[in-house]
Symmetry: C2
Subunit: 362 residues, 2 copies
Amino acid sequence: MEQNENRRTELSALGEFGLIRRLTSGIRTKHPATLLGIGDDCAVTDQEGHVTLVTTDMLVEGVHFNLSYHPLKHLGYKAAVVNISDILAMNGIPRQMLVGMAVSNRFSVEALEEIYAGLLAACNKYGLDLVGGDTVSSNKGLVLSLTVLGEAERDAYIRRSTARKGDLICVTGDLGAAYAGLLMLEREKKVLEADPGMQPELEAHAYILQRQLKPELRTELRPLLAELKVKPTSMIDISDGLASETLHLCHDSGLGCALYEEKIPIDQATARAAELFNINPITAALNGGEDYELLFTIRQEDYEKIRPVHWIRVIGHMTEAGKGHLLITRSGQAVGLNAQGWDAFIPKEQRNAEKTFPESSV
Amino acid sequence: MEQNENRRTELSALGEFGLIRRLTSGIRTKHPATLLGIGDDCAVTDQEGHVTLVTTDMLVEGVHFNLSYHPLKHLGYKAAVVNISDILAMNGIPRQMLVGMAVSNRFSVEALEEIYAGLLAACNKYGLDLVGGDTVSSNKGLVLSLTVLGEAERDAYIRRSTARKGDLICVTGDLGAAYAGLLMLEREKKVLEADPGMQPELEAHAYILQRQLKPELRTELRPLLAELKVKPTSMIDISDGLASETLHLCHDSGLGCALYEEKIPIDQATARAAELFNINPITAALNGGEDYELLFTIRQEDYEKIRPVHWIRVIGHMTEAGKGHLLITRSGQAVGLNAQGWDAFIPKEQRNAEKTFPESSV
């Protein structure tokens, strides 16, 4: 940060168009489908016989992220990942991104360049063209608004509402780690506030911190399922927590569900951190969110095809609506599944825990 | 407003998903190309052999709009118009909209419904489907971020960078009225602050106020030019002012220009208001902005085709780059054309005048 302070360029020194030029001068487009990128009234994309997917998310400083935890470059990277995740959640291929930023004069040009560097790193990693956006001033703080376009073959995109009774509920990777990472960041911040000379003990918790600060996406699922000839019957990404996302699939498909606690994948690092913070790791998985794994349903007859894939776990099944939304505990008890995830409009002091990147696309 | 206060529902009473349901429950899609609207991870659109245009704009309370002038429904309407305008500026047909809103608890659910009512009124008027978005909380104020998708036939969209030397510069409608309307709103606000019992004298200035508060778009240009078989060589919409937009066409096309002051269309109502405020109406046209008319260039041989159209005016021509960017005054003097438009990052007290809806898509 000190380095940035040494070459602090005030936003007013560049002006609006100067700033846009500086932030976007190195950006080149890569996709043949991107006919026109930054620099005109609109970006232009071309899809030959495919459908276009489009999603948008807003992220507000102090609500969705905290700059004392999130380095600016990581913030840009994560903001991109959160949005791209919605394209993967439809079984689509992400293609283009547009970036809206509202920034106060508190931020230097270099700070915005850091955010752009993170956005571009994610675009490069996941193969997107950054094709446009809008940069405006705000009176206070930072608001990011990203829009991502993707494509899919016409019969290949997958909705939330098309699960059927008896379908198996599957999840990729492991859950709860991003939330454990957030708890760790909050603890270390308090330690540092009490004694600024302390060295934070973060290295031992690299996995959960990476899941919170620089999450990666499950891009391997789509090609794998295509190869296995498994078409999920419904799909969603896990941004608000397993409970909330499962309830979305149930609600939108008009079904109930049974999830099995013992099947929910938790990494050992998450379990250790949960013990440290005296919380149940299943709570982190159900309600923590920000894992950006994929939750999907498949037909029972496809079970054998996905069984050998070590990073896909079957965690339950869809039931008829009247059966309710149940979590079967390790002791065999059936308890109601509740979404206790972050709620944007409940005042902070009334929430159990603040999440940094909740997602609420409509 | 009082009526709204009587049925104030706190945002926290509905929760995030409840709010989204309430704001979007009545929304139906109309286009065959809209395969999927609100309610999943992404919206899905389908273009058969067309290109997709996409544009995004952010609008920040206190920077781009002032809620003491802009009723919420008008704000929503204008925000939509500002974005849709970018699709028209590419000669495209607007098709779908996504809406991001960051709102503080200061706003009631009814207030957000008013904004949505304005957005939907514009979508209905201009034939767009509202297909998705994101509603989040902010610590302070209101930020709107809109994304609009449009389509065009592959060889029909028009860029800023393709004007040629000798091309005629044309503009639709008249200019400067939106800025005159803003000056009028500012004056009436001061009068009201000094004496709250005063009745504002707004009716006599209906035209300029409508241009500021509820601008409409020049949708008739695209079909007219198609009928006349005139393809503009470059095009942009007038959001920041005629000077700034002309300089964009020149810069992006690598050309100079000559504009003729006497040709710039100014409505009588704008001229009267300019006299009242002791400003030159040409200044309002050149630097006021927010007119959302279209500025475009045509080949000289197309002049006879557009000459009979009373709402299109030829105001100058493109020259080679070395000739500079000139405004030829009524007295025949050639002066340099400067963009003195609003600049988002120059502190307010240093600006000559604040504009409410500048546009800065990259």
